[in-house]
């Protein structure tokens, strides 16, 4: 080494001196962008190595992070899984809250619309026995609950009160093996007794083989048991098998469809009509025509204050011409001479042509406003669409009584029943 340095000492010193002066130059000289050349040189000389080093470092770190240090990924996965689980629990909790709010709203709505007097209660506990289908609710004798009262939800019946305590009551669910209730089918009116079986499905007993029960048909309470008022949903027929001596009709209870957190205890039951079957092609109710269509039409036109149309005027002209020529429209073969029409001004008013029974053509605004149908809210449980056409013409008649336009005995009965039910409260 020493000999090498001695041999090339001069050239080495030369390079060192030149290099030193180049550095001196670089310190002084500035580039076009007013940056010292030494900085430009330094950056130019350093950056490729720095880039290579950074690439090596980044690659190495990435390699170690992605392939070697997998425990970090595993820990992060665990953390993310925990977070996902926590979010799922939050989601379930919020959904439950939402469902609870929906159920409470539905319960309150049902409680307001049902004719029966009910008492809202919350299920606070369930029976201790494995086979016993009983629950406890937070209403007891202090709230007026008595043994034997029906327990329902907006979806249907759920059971009955079998024991009452001061602050709570025990409910025997309809799936309990000891439960029984009188039921009636919706479509064919087949009567039977719903019995719990200790399973989710119930059995409608005492249905003879000759009676027709269809799968998918709904059963409602018949009111015969003096516990459940008539007209509450019980369940849907899932299977029908002939048996001896009665059919085996299995029914899925509908009262548990949306859970059983809140229930209604029927304090005073009011019987309801069994709703008719909703078919795809439901027959449309057409009301009977009013006794005097022309009178009603002219009366309606007069009361509405509407001016006679051009057709009315033309018809009045033709009728006047026929009367003047002694022609009765629809009779005889010789038509009236339509060239001898009276002057338009001499023709009677269309309303008068319709009948002199026209009412004064200045009805009060209150009369022009159609009075609401007198069908009670109970009619809402009966086929609504059938009542609308009945009330429609009457309402269009601007104040004509509904009974006059819709002499439907069934509606009358419903209205009477509803009023009596309402008064029953």
């Amino acid at each position: 080494m020493e000999s090498f340095l001695n041999r090339y000492r001069n050239i080495t010193v030369l390079f060192l001196v030149i290099f030193g002066q180049l550095l001196l130059l670089a310190v002084q000289v500035k580039s076009d962008r007013n940056v010292p050349v030494i900085r430009v040189w330094t950056v130019t000389a350093i950056t490729p190595f720095a880039r290579v080093l950074e690439a090596v470092r980044g690659g190495g770190v990435g390699f170690f992070r992605n392939y070697i240090f997998l425990h970090n990924a595993d820990a992060e996965n665990r953390r993310l899984r925990d977070e996902v689980n926590r979010l799922k629990m939050d989601n379930i909790f919020l959904r439950d809250q939402l469902n609870t709010a929906d159920r409470a709203h539905a319960l309150a709505l049902f409680q307001q619309t049902t004719q029966s007097k009910t008492l809202a209660a919350i299920v606070i506990a369930s029976g201790a026995g494995v086979n016993s289908k009983v629950d406890f609710v937070d209403r007891g004798s202090g709230s007026g609950v008595e043994r034997g009262m029906a327990v329902v939800t907006p979806d249907g019946i759920v059971g009955k009160v079998v024991a009452v305590y001061p602050t709570a009551s025990q409910i025997e669910l309809m799936t309990d093996a000891d439960f029984a209730a009188g039921v009636i089918s919706q479509k064919n009116g087949v009567r039977g007794t719903f019995k719990g079986q200790g399973s989710p499905m119930g059995l409608v007993d005492y249905v003879s083989n000759s009676e027709k029960v269809e799968v998918g048909e709904r059963f409602y309470t018949s009111g015969d048991d003096r516990i459940f008022p008539r007209g509450f949903p019980v369940g849907v027929v899932k299977s029908v098998h002939p048996g001896a001596p009665f059919q085996q009709v299995l029914v899925a209870p509908s009262g548990f469809e949306h859970g059983l957190d809140e229930v209604l205890i029927v304090v005073e039951g009011v019987h309801r009509e069994i709703p008719p079957v909703q078919t795809a092609n439901q027959p449309v109710y057409i009301a009977s025509p009013p006794p005097d269509a022309d009178a009603v039409r002219s009366e309606a036109a007069a009361q509405a204050g509407a001016a006679p149309t051009e057709a009315d005027k033309l018809r009045a002209v033709y009728e006047a011409a026929g009367e003047a020529q002694g022609h009765v429209y629809g009779q005889g073969y010789k038509p009236p001479d339509l060239l001898k029409l009276p002057a338009p001004g001499s023709a009677p008013a269309p309303a008068a042509a319709g009948g002199a029974k026209a009412a004064p053509a200045a009805p009060s605004p209150a009369a022009a406003t159609a009075s609401p149908p007198t069908v009670p809210p109970a009619a809402g449980h009966s086929p609504g669409p059938s009542t609308a056409p009945a009330a429609g013409p009457a309402a269009a008649g601007a104040g004509a009584p509904a009974q006059k336009a819709a002499p439907n005995p069934r509606l009358a009965n419903q209205a009477a029943g509803a009023q009596s039910g309402t008064s029953g409260h």
Binding site: V17, L25, V29
Partner: protein, 177 residues
Amino acid sequence: MDYPGGRVLLSSQREGQSTHYSLRVLILVPLAAILFQVYVPQFFDFLHFLELPMLVVVYFALMRRSQMGGLFLGALVGIAQDSLTTKPLGMYGIVKTLVGYFAASVSVRFDVEHNLIRGMLCFFFYLFHQCLYWVMERALLGHQPPFEMQSWLVQGGLNALVGLALFHFLDKLRSST
């Protein structure tokens, strides 16, 4: 110093003997050359072609036959010359460092006492000095100086003539050993 047969090339490095100068000469002569370079042309504009500092460096490098001495002398003279110009320090320094180094390197092969050799070396090193400075000015400073080879050739010849006279004068300043 005379060599037998009037040869231009030396047969061996041992034939070449270094010449010694006093320290005062080694300091004052370059300083005088630099002063002349910056002072005299202000009054005699035609003397701008003279490059006395380079000639001094060449002379001492040739006569001392020391590469180390030549490059350091060239560096010092060049930086001193740079400090008296508006150019960045190091431009003349680098050029004269290389001139001193190469002159000292050449001196071991040539008979530097020969006038023809001295004249040719002065001419050659002047061209080398000018060309290298031109290259550095373009490369390091980003300037666009004109490439005046014809002028450089003429000036190189004139510097060679002046160098011959200067070398004869400097030969009188040798130390008597």
